[in-house]
Symmetry: C2
Subunit: 398 residues, 2 copies
C-alpha cells in the first residue's frame, strides 16, 4: 500500500476512537428524566418517542405464536427465509408495480442491521457518505463505525430539508462513495416525489457513486400513495423495516433491496456479523402482507393522520413555525426560534415544568438544530390536546 | 494526527477491503450441496450443523407467547430489560457463586451482537486480538470489520488447543489489546479449568490488555460442573448466549458481562448499532432460569452426553484420532491425517458418496485444518450410528 497523500488523508481524518465520535441521542437524557419524573408520580406525556403506541397487529402475533409452538425456533439462512424474501418482492409488485428479483431482498436485524451490513460492505476507511442535515443521527454514525465519514450537508426549507442534485454535485469529492436520503424523512416527515428521486439518482450515478434511500417510514404517507425509489432507479439501494408501518419495532426485522451482484458478499458478512435475522420476527412478518393485517395498518394510518392534522393546526397557534409540512412518518419538525436558541435547554425546562417530553433539534444535526424541535404524534389525540394545553399555559407564563 | 511510523503501521496493515478479507465458512458450501442432495431425495445425515436438534423449551416459548399477546412488542432499553439483566446476574450467583452488579450484564442481538459491539468499542484500527488456531472463524472477522487484526496463534493438543500464558507472553506486541479464548471451545469442546483461566487472566493483565472469554457453550459440560472466568478474574469480559444451552438459537439473544466503567459507551453504541435486542427473545429468556426450563435443559445435556460417549468410541474405531476429548459443547474434533491432507475435498467426497455432512477443519484456522474434521452431535443417536456405518463402509472401499 502506498504512503501517498490520498492514503494519508484517508487515515488521518480521525484523531479519536470511534466511540468518542459517536454521541448518545440527547433525547435519551430527556427520556431518563421523563422516567424519573414518572417514578415520582408526574403525569408525563411522551411526544419524544419514535415508536407508535400500537402493538403488533394480532394476525402477525398469531403467525409467530403458531410457528414458535410448532418448534420453529432455529436459525434461518443468513439473509432470511426465502419465502419471506419472495413475499417482500411480491409486495413491491402489488403495491408499487415494481418488479424485483427476490434474491435482491435481504433480511436483517432491523434496518439498523441493514445499515450496519451495508456500511461494512461498501465503505472503505476514509470514504464519505453525504447526508442531509437535519437527519437521523445514527446514519452518520454507521459510517464512523467503519472508519468512514458521514458528511452532513446543510439543507433548508426550500428543498424541504432534503438533498438536491445541486447539493450532491457541489459536495461530491473524490472519496465520496454514497449519498443517503430518507423518504419519508426523520425528523421532518418530508417525502421525496419520484421526479426528485430520479434526479437525485441521476446526480449520484454521474459521479459513479451509490444512492441509498431510507424508506423505513414507507406506508405512513398522508397526502399521496407511498412510492419507492426503485420505480425510477433500479440501481438504488433501499433500506426498509417492519418496525414502523408494520408495527414490529421490538422484533428487530428490516430489509434491504440491493444490486444482485452484491448479494454473495453481503451474505458472507451477514453470516459473520449476525448469523441470521430473528426467526420469530420472520414468522410474524410472513403475515404482514395479508389483507387482514394491511387493513389494521391502514386504520392506524388514519388515526395517525388525524393526529397530524391536529398538530399542524395547534403548533402554529402556539407560535411554532412548521417550515415543512410532513407528508409522511409521525413527526412534526418545528422552528422554535421565537422561543429559544437552545433546544436542549428548552426541552429540559418544558419537561420539568409541564411533564411534556419532546426531542431537541440538536439530535438531528449541527446546523439549525438549536432552534428546532421535534414533536412525535405517537400518542393518542386526547393526550396531544392535553400536551398542547400545558405548553400554551407554560409559554404564556414565561 | 501525527504522520509517524506508528500511525502508518496501523493503517497500512490492510491492503484490501474488509469484505475481501472475510471468507465465507466452507461448511456453507457443504450445507448447500447437502440441501441439493436432499432435494434429489438423498437421505442426508447432518453432522455439520452447530445447532442442536431441540426446539426452545416450552415454558420459554409460552413466556414469549404471553408477552406478545399482552402487546409487549415495542423496544426495550438498548442494553435490554433491567429485570432480565438482574436475572442473569442472579444466575451467576446461584450457579457459580459469583456476585456481579446487574448493570455489568448487557443484552445483545446474539453473542454475535456482543462481539460486534465490543469490537467496535474496544478495538482501534491496527490493533491486535490474539486467538487460538483452531477456533471459531467469525471471531477474527469481527476484529477485521473494525480495521483491527485477529492474530491466530497456533496451538497443539498439548495445551488442548487453547492459548497458554506462555503463548500470550510470546506473541503479545505493543499494539495487541485483547486475548480471546473460548471455554468450552469450538471446534474442540475443550474446557479451560479455573487455574488455567486465572493464569491466562494474569498473563493478559501483566501486559495491560483485555481478556475476553467466550462462554457461549457454558452449561453444556460433560465431566465437571460448568464454571465462569468471573470466579477467578473479575476484570475479564464474558461473552455468552441463550442460543446453545438454553436452546434459543433463532431468537438471537446473547449477553456480555463487562467492566462497569464501559457501560455508558457500550450503551450509546448499542443505541446506534442495534436500537435494542429483540423483545420476544427477552421475554422467552425471562423464563430460562425457572426450574422447569432448567430441568428440560439438563435432560437434553444428558442426551448430548450419550451421543458424545458413542462418538468417542466410534470415531477412533474408524481411524479418526481424537487429540482432545471434548468436555463441553457438542463437537468432536478429529485428526484425519490417516485419510486426508485436504479436509474440504474429503468432506465433499464423503457427502457425495454417503450423504453424511461434516465440517472441514480448514473452517477453524490455518494451521492443521487441512487434516482435521469436526463432527457435531446435534442429531439423534440412531442417526449418528447410521452415519458411522456409512463412513465405515466408505472408508473400507477407498
Amino acid at each position: 500500500m502506498s504512503h501517498d497523500g490520498v492514503t494519508m488523508s484517508q487515515h488521518n481524518t480521525h484523531n479519536t476512537h470511534r466511540s468518542d465520535d459517536i454521541q448518545p441521542f440527547h433525547v435519551m437524557a430527556i427520556l431518563a428524566e421523563a422516567q424519573a419524573l414518572q417514578a415520582q408520580g408526574v403525569d408525563v406525556i411522551h411526544l419524544e418517542v419514535g415508536e407508535p403506541d400500537f402493538p403488533t397487529p394480532e394476525p402477525m402475533i398469531e403467525a409467530a405464536v403458531s410457528a414458535l409452538r410448532a418448534g420453529k425456533t432455529g436459525y434461518t439462512p443468513a439473509l432470511g427465509m426465502p419465502v419471506l424474501r419472495e413475499k417482500i418482492a411480491d409486495y413491491y409488485w402489488q403495491r408499487f408495480a415494481v418488479r424485483i428479483d427476490p434474491r435482491r431482498v435481504i433480511l436483517t436485524p432491523g434496518a439498523s442491521g441493514a445499515l450496519l451490513l451495508l456500511s461494512a460492505a461498501r465503505l472503505q476507511p476514509g470514504q464519505r457518505m453525504l447526508l442531509a442535515d437535519p437527519g437521523y443521527p445514527c446514519n452518520r454514525h454507521f459510517a464512523r463505525l467503519f472508519e468512514a465519514h458521514g458528511q452532513l450537508i446543510t439543507t433548508t426549507a426550500a428543498s424541504r430539508f432534503q438533498l438536491t442534485p445541486e447539493l450532491i454535485a457541489q459536495h461530491w469529492q473524490s472519496n465520496t462513495r454514497v449519498a443517503l436520503v430518507a423518504s419519508p424523512a426523520n425528523p421532518t416527515g418530508a417525502v421525496l416525489d419520484l421526479p426528485h428521486l430520479r434526479a437525485l439518482a441521476d446526480a449520484v450515478r454521474v459521479q459513479g457513486g451509490e444512492f441509498w434511500v431510507d424508506e423505513i417510514y414507507q406506508g405512513l404517507n398522508y397526502n399521496k400513495a407511498p412510492q419507492t425509489v426503485l420505480a425510477v432507479a433500479d440501481d438504488a439501494v433501499v433500506l426498509n423495516s417492519f418496525s414502523k408501518y408494520f408495527g414490529m419495532t421490538g422484533w428487530r426485522l428490516g430489509w434491504s433491496v440491493v444490486p444482485l451482484a452484491w448479494v454473495p458478499t453481503l451474505e458472507k458478512l451477514a453470516q459473520n456479523m449476525f448469523l441470521a435475522p430473528p426467526t420469530p420476527a420472520q414468522h410474524a412478518a410472513l403475515a404482514a402482507f395479508d389483507a387482514e393485517s394491511l387493513a389494521i395498518m391502514e386504520t392506524r394510518r388514519h388515526i395517525l393522520s388525524e393526529r397530524r392534522d391536529y398538530l399542524l393546526t395547534a403548533l402554529p397557534e402556539l407560535g411554532f413555525e412548521v417550515p415543512v409540512v410532513p407528508d409522511g412518518a409521525f413527526y412534526v419538525y418545528v422552528d422554535a426560534s421565537r422561543y429559544t436558541d437552545d433546544s436542549l435547554l428548552f426541552c429540559q425546562q418544558l419537561l420539568a415544568d409541564t411533564g411534556v417530553a419532546i426531542t431537541p433539534g440538536i439530535d438531528f444535526g449541527d446546523h439549525a438544530g438549536h432552534h428546532h424541535l421535534r414533536f412525535a404524534f405517537t400518542t393518542p389525540l386526547p393526550r396531544l390536546q392535553q400536551a398542547m394545553a400545558r405548553i400554551q399555559e407554560w409559554l404564556a407564563q414565561r
